[in-house]
């Protein structure tokens, strides 16, 4: 085979590899982006116990991306239930008119400094009585990457 043809074939092979790489993350011929859903099969992913009136526990949820090194678009859905580990059977609705025994809010920590992780701060506030309650949490993370999470108290 002459050199010219050899060069042509080499370029075509490189093109094929590039196309395979791109196709692995985006359906060619369809207008959609590959997205991932990350969650466990467990009844709950984390629990906290609170007993003091007005007690506050802040958690840091760190999600380490499987692939993305320069940030990922991720959405955290958090559900929780009080005194029952089967969270998704009856999670606390976010539209309650009165404060539940444990009140939970969360937001993504900005700016993103390390492109390999995404973090959320979760704020748990106990209501105004001294009865002990245990809050059970489930996490669902949707977005452009999958990965592993870890929880720490801050």
């Amino acid at each position: 085979m002459d050199r010219k043809t050899n060069n042509i074939l080499k370029d075509m092979k490189r093109n094929r590899q590039d196309i395979d790489t791109i196709q692995s993350s985006q359906f060619i011929g369809a207008d959609s982006i590959i997205a991932y859903k990350t969650n466990s099969d467990e009844q709950f992913d984390h629990s906290i116990t609170m007993s003091s009136s007005g007690q506050v526990i802040n958690l840091l949820l760190t999600f380490t991306h499987q692939t993305a090194t320069a940030g990922a678009l991720l959405d955290l859905k958090l559900f929780y239930r009080i005194n029952n580990p089967d969270v998704m059977a009856q999670p606390v609705p976010m539209w309650l008119p009165s404060m539940p025994a444990i009140y939970v809010r969360w937001y993504k920590v900005m700016p993103i400094g390390n492109g390999q992780v995404t973090q959320w701060r979760i704020r748990c506030v106990k209501n105004a009585n001294s009865t002990t309650f245990t809050g059970y949490f489930k996490f669902f993370i949707d977005g452009t990457d999958t990965g592993q999470w870890s929880i720490s108290v801050i």
């Binding site: 370029d11 993305a68 993504k108």
Partner: protein, 135 residues
């Protein structure tokens, strides 16, 4: 060069141009997308009892119509004191089709004692495009 070879080279050049265009929108070598983080200047909002009921924020993308955009924030009780004790509830507004602009109504609540009368906010937008934030 014969015509057959010329045709092969033309097709290859088109392929290469298309691949280059696609790779520019995606981190090459990994199955992910280029994400842009846009930051606003620090903006002051009046806060009644530490709550900003409705901050109106917009993000105008550089070139991508209908792009995905997610809004987040850092909150300060003075221009220099950042706080992590807050909640933020952005509600994205419906936008016109084929628009570069995404808008939100945002409620921010400072959740500790001695609420300030002003909250200072730096907005961040994570998106598939760069752009400008107004708030």
């Amino acid at each position: 060069m014969d015509r057959k070879t010329n045709n092969i080279l033309s097709v290859m050049k088109r392929n290469i141009d298309e691949i280059k265009a696609m790779k520019s929108a995606q981190n090459s070598g990994s199955d992910n997308y280029v994400i842009y983080q846009t930051e606003s200047s620090q903006i002051a909002y009046s806060a009644s009892a530490g709550i900003v009921e409705r901050a109106q924020v917009s993000f105008t993308a550089n070139s991508m119509y209908n792009t995905f955009a997610e809004l987040n924030a850092r909150v300060f009780t003075t221009t220099a004191n950042e706080t992590t004790v807050f909640s933020i509830e952005p509600q994205k507004k419906m936008s016109l089709p084929n628009s570069l602009v995404t808008q939100w109504d945002v409620r921010i609540a400072y959740e500790a004692g001695s609420p300030p009368s002003t909250l200072y906010v730096i907005w961040y937008v994570l998106s598939l495009d760069t752009g400008v934030i107004n708030g």
